[in-house]
């Protein structure tokens, strides 16, 4: 571990911390444009975080320490996840600590804590949200792993850095297995980030909400951490998708010039991805909660299919 590596790691962390809320803001801006509304400023999520941190935190009478610990655990899981994914450089010092499987494990750990915290106060909506979140999770997690396994088998490694560099250096060809995996990944990331058609980030309608139901009792700094963690998750998923399906332009050394080149490339890719997400959210309708298992099972099967196609055809 050298100084350059540490600096690159810190840069990646800062990019994630600021980039997460900005990405969420960008999606909102795009959505407003597509729906013919006046867009909020790009920095709106950052301002909202600042406001929330100033507010007093109101806790329910029965809340246990779990409720206070969870935001910190969830936030650090998400930040760690976005520091492990090769966003700017494939040579980060923290990257060997976790491979693709451990990355999914980190997301699952955050999910466990967020669900337990939602059950902590003991209101009807909290437990309802926890149940739905775990329902989405137990189907989305294997599907995501199947996508990662496909990429792992193509590059014969589960280390994300190796996957990115081997996919980036391969001769360009549209592999059928990666095409299946891409569709599966898109479906999973919509579900995992509480997006339409699985969940609506803008709703507080009792019967349909998942993510908002989990955060219903949170306020003040705890809510700010949870919201920040959610935007970090969106950022991490987007970057993971970019790493698997558009791996070009990530720096392989930690010198300043390479990083300075990688940053605008990442921003451009994220902007395109955010626009695509807004487009999906605009043209699709939210589905009933009972349909979600079918949707995710389809994603899971597509992931398995991608793996099978790779094993059978070697492509």
């Amino acid at each position: 571990m050298n100084l350059e590596g540490v600096l690159a790691q810190i840069a990646a962390m800062l990019v994630a911390l600021v980039g997460g809320p900005l990405l969420a803001g960008w999606v909102n801006v795009c959505r407003a444009w597509l729906q013919n509304r006046t867009a909020p400023p790009l920095t709106q999520p950052l301002r909202a975080l600042h406001k929330l941190f100033w507010k007093e935190s109101v806790m329910a009478h029965g809340a246990s320490p779990m409720y206070r610990i969870a935001p910190y655990v969830v936030f650090s899981c998400m930040l760690l996840a976005s520091m492990i994914i090769p966003t700017l450089s494939t040579n980060l010092p923290l990257a060997p600590a976790a491979d693709a499987i451990a990355l999914v494990g980190l997301f699952a750990l955050a999910r466990l804590f967020i669900s337990l915290a939602a059950m902590d106060v003991g209101t009807a909506f909290g437990t309802l949200g926890a149940r739905r979140e775990m329902l989405v999770g137990f189907l989305a997690e294997p599907a995501f792993l199947m996508v990662l396994f496909t990429a792992s088998l193509i590059s014969s490694s589960t280390s994300l850095a190796t996957i990115v560099s081997s996919l980036a250096h391969r001769e360009f060809a549209v592999l059928p297995s990666l095409a299946f995996a891409g569709v599966a990944f898109t479906m999973v990331s919509l579900a995992e980030n509480a997006r339409i058609p699985v969940d609506n980030p803008a709703t507080h309608l009792e019967l349909t909400m998942i993510h908002e139901a989990l955060l219903l009792e949170y306020s003040g700094r705890h809510l700010a951490l949870m919201e920040w963690a959610a935007s970090l998750k969106l950022f991490a998923y987007s970057c993971a998708g970019l790493a698997l399906f558009l791996p070009w332009g990530v720096a392989e050394a930690n010198d300043r010039r390479a990083l300075a080149f990688a940053l605008p490339v990442l921003a451009a890719k994220l902007a395109a991805g955010g626009f695509a997400l807004a487009l999906i959210e605009t043209i699709l309708a939210k589905m009933r909660i009972f349909r979600v298992p079918e949707f995710l099972a389809t994603a899971f099967l597509l992931g398995v299919l991608a793996l099978l196609v790779h094993q059978l055809l070697g492509a």
Binding site: S57, M83, L109, D120, G126, R131, P142, E217
Partner: protein, 670 residues
């Protein structure tokens, strides 16, 4: 060669001391303070001593000993090799925590007298140790039966309850069906030489047909003890019936003796296994794991839930065993070593976290006298010690980083990702499907554990009396903390653990994972090479804690730490009671709906016009209807037909004799 000449003697001394402690309890069977307060803590220390002795002996060459007890000319052959030493370590570590907990757990006036229970308990411990040491079929079966019988008595501690009697009978029945299969397996393995020592079995070269017969018998026999599909039915009955420390010992350690037996027969006694045995183990193991996970999600009794979760974990262990067999069958030894390491690692992990969770349910049971999840809730406020330690067990059981459960799942998935090198194309095609199944099981385990912890410890208490719940006593806390610390250490230092496990694949397969060398970086787990895959739980844990602490300090520094308590918001609905939280049934509902074809479910839903609305759901294990009831029916019918012969009148029996004589005369004539 004997490097540590005293290791096997030391292990035997611990076994003898356990038996002595058990007998000492008989001196004052009703003296509670003597048995629980003195004998059990001493026995826990012996467990630690056993673990230390076995751990020291693990890397060394096998030691053998002849014990001249038993029948004339039939002494006990004993042997301590890396495999048995490993399982002795598991026994010692888990039993230390469980025994110290048991010292604080049993209350006067419950079931069997404490002294007699202490005897059963220590015979159980000693028998398990002897199973690992036995080196001939005779000693093995004696120890195996002693283990089954002593645990049967422990399961039926509260033997006046009819339900517990039934559970005990079922357990005894399946244990003996399994024992018969194991006996037959040894009969096959000795290959008509009449010499039942394991050394002779190792020397035999069986034809593929007989070797396969031996494997299948062993898989069935040990599978009955491990609880693989469809022999699992005793587990969800026996675990809720037994006192919690006994459940912990049975689920944590006794199930592992079955895995020990499978590994011993497949890799040691049978020589080189055939690849298709592995496919059998993979299919059965995955089916068991999926079944266990799905059923665990639907349970409403906390110990029954854990029992199904044990079935799931055993399934995963059997999957790893199957993978190791497939790789060995194709002579891909490094990969076989990886899969075997995953199997053994999961064994020790499961022993620790499942014992921990069973003990936690024991404390909850004592504090509330409720086993049903629907009547618990909010216990974290009154039982912080139990809740805190159970949380570690829950994270481990859900297989999340940086816990120990994640390490073994990671190793298992890594060994799946190497199967592209298998020469058999059908297997190559099947393996991704298996990997998908394993991943699904792991994710379902997370669901189950959120349900378990959330419903018991979080939320509002569902009954008023829960507010009187008291936390565990200090002996119980000691046991819980011991197992928690082991879980954490096993999770944070996987490299050291794998180096300790490595002599086992080296001895059984002829090639370890590390090949005698050390893993280069002590903090980075990279079984093949770091570019291929790496994982460092310590780094993850430190980084996550650092981030959390930094965020905490920064928020306090730049903003504030003001907090106000108020009534819960709950979308503004004014009247919310504890009954409006999800019950255990409610939390499991999505799983029941998705996997509906697996369940035999009876549902009674009230309509809006019912004067006395009743809601009832009962879930039946399909194994009962499709396997056990037909077998029971066939047995009963056959015996009824045979019973027609018995008329109870001497004239008729004389007629039978006469007819038989006639028939025989006729046969000899012809």
């Amino acid at each position: 060669m004997s490097v540590a000449p005293s290791a096997i003697d030391g292990v035997l001394a611990v076994v003898a001391a356990w038996l002595a402690i058990g007998l000492a309890g008989l001196a004052a069977p009703r003296n509670f303070r003597f048995v629980a307060g003195f004998l059990f803590p001493v026995s826990a220390l012996l467990g630690i001593a056993l673990a230390a002795l076995a751990l020291a002996a693990l890397p060394h060459a096998p030691e053998a000993l002849l014990l001249p007890i038993g029948l004339p000319n039939l002494p006990f052959h004993l042997r301590l090799d890396p495999l048995s030493a490993f399982f002795l370590v598991v026994l010692g570590l888990a039993s230390a925590g469980i025994t110290i907990f048991a010292g604080g757990y049993f209350r006067p006036g419950e079931g069997t007298a404490p002294g007699i229970m202490g005897l059963q308990y220590h015979v159980f411990l000693a028998a398990m140790a002897m199973v690992m040491l036995a080196d001939d079929a005779y000693a093995f079966m004696v120890a195996w039966e002693a283990m089954a019988l002593s645990s049967f008595f422990l399961v039926t501690t509260n033997h006046r309850i009819a339900e517990i009697q039934r559970a005990g009978f079922l357990y005894l029945l399946i244990a003996h069906v399994g024992a018969i299969a194991i006996l037959l397996c040894f009969g096959v393995l000795q290959a008509n030489t009449g010499d039942y020592t394991f050394a002779n079995m190792r020397a035999q070269h069986l034809t593929p047909f007989w070797a396969s017969a031996g494997f299948l018998l062993a898989f069935f026999g040990f599978g009955a003890k491990a609880g693989i599909l469809p022999l699992h039915v005793w587990l969800p009955e026996a675990h809720p019936a037994a006192p919690s420390p006994v459940s912990a010992l049975m689920s944590g350690v006794m199930l592992k003796t079955a895995i020990y037996g499978m590994a011993r027969v497949c890799f040691d006694l049978l020589g080189t296994p055939l690849w298709w045995w592995g496919v059998v183990a993979l299919v059965v193991g995955l089916a068991t794991a999926l079944f266990g996970a799905v059923f665990a999600a639907a349970q409403v009794d906390m110990k029954r839930l854990l029992a199904y979760s044990s079935i799931e974990n055993i399934g995963l262990v059997v999957v790893a065993l199957g993978l190791a067999i497939v790789f060995t069958g194709y002579h891909m030894l490094p990969l076989a070593a990886l899969a075997m390491t995953a199997m053994l690692y999961h064994c020790v992990n499961h022993a620790m976290f499942k014992s921990l969770l069973f003990l936690a349910t024991g404390s909850v049971l004592h504090a509330t006298s409720e086993r049903s999840l629907g009547k618990l809730g909010g216990l974290m406020r009154w039982m912080p010690w139990v809740a805190g330690t159970a949380l570690v067990g829950v994270i481990a059981s859900a297989g999340l980083p940086p816990s120990n459960g994640f390490v073994s799942e990671w190793l298992l998935l890594q060994s799946f990702l190497f199967t592209g090198e298998l020469p058999n194309p059908y297997l190559r095609m099947l393996v991704p499907v298996f990997a998908a199944g394993v991943v699904l099981v792991a994710a379902l385990a997370g669901y189950v554990m959120v349900k378990f912890f959330g419903v018991i410890f979080l939320g509002q208490p569902r009954e008023e009396k829960l507010a009187q719940a008291r936390d565990a006593g200090w002996l119980e806390r000691l046991g819980l903390v011991w197992l928690t610390v082991l879980c954490v250490l096993l999770g944070l230092f996987p490299v050291e653990v794998m180096e300790a496990i490595d002599p086992i694949p080296a001895a059984l397969l002829g090639r370890g994972l590390l090949q005698g060398g050390r893993i280069a970086d002590a903090f980075l787990l990279a079984p093949v090479n770091p570019a291929r895959a790496s994982y460092s739980p310590l780094l993850i844990a430190v980084a996550a804690l650092a981030i959390a602490a930094l965020v905490f300090v920064l928020v306090r520094r730049f903003y504030h730490g003001r907090t106000r308590r108020a009534a819960p918001w709950g979308c503004g609905y004014p009247w919310q009671t504890a009954r409006m939280q999800d019950t255990a049934e409610g939390f499991g509902q999505p799983i029941r709906q998705i996997f509906e074809p697996l369940f035999l479910m009876k549902r009674e839903l009230p309509t809006a016009f019912d004067a006395h609305p009743r809601y009832r759901v009962s879930i039946e294990d399909p194994a009962w209807r499709w396997l056990y009831l037909p077998v029971a029916w066939a047995t009963e019918t056959c015996s009824r037909l045979v019973g027609l012969l018995q008329r109870g009148r001497i004239a008729i029996y004389l007629l039978y004799s006469f007819l038989t004589l006639l028939a025989l005369l006729f046969l000899t004539q012809a």
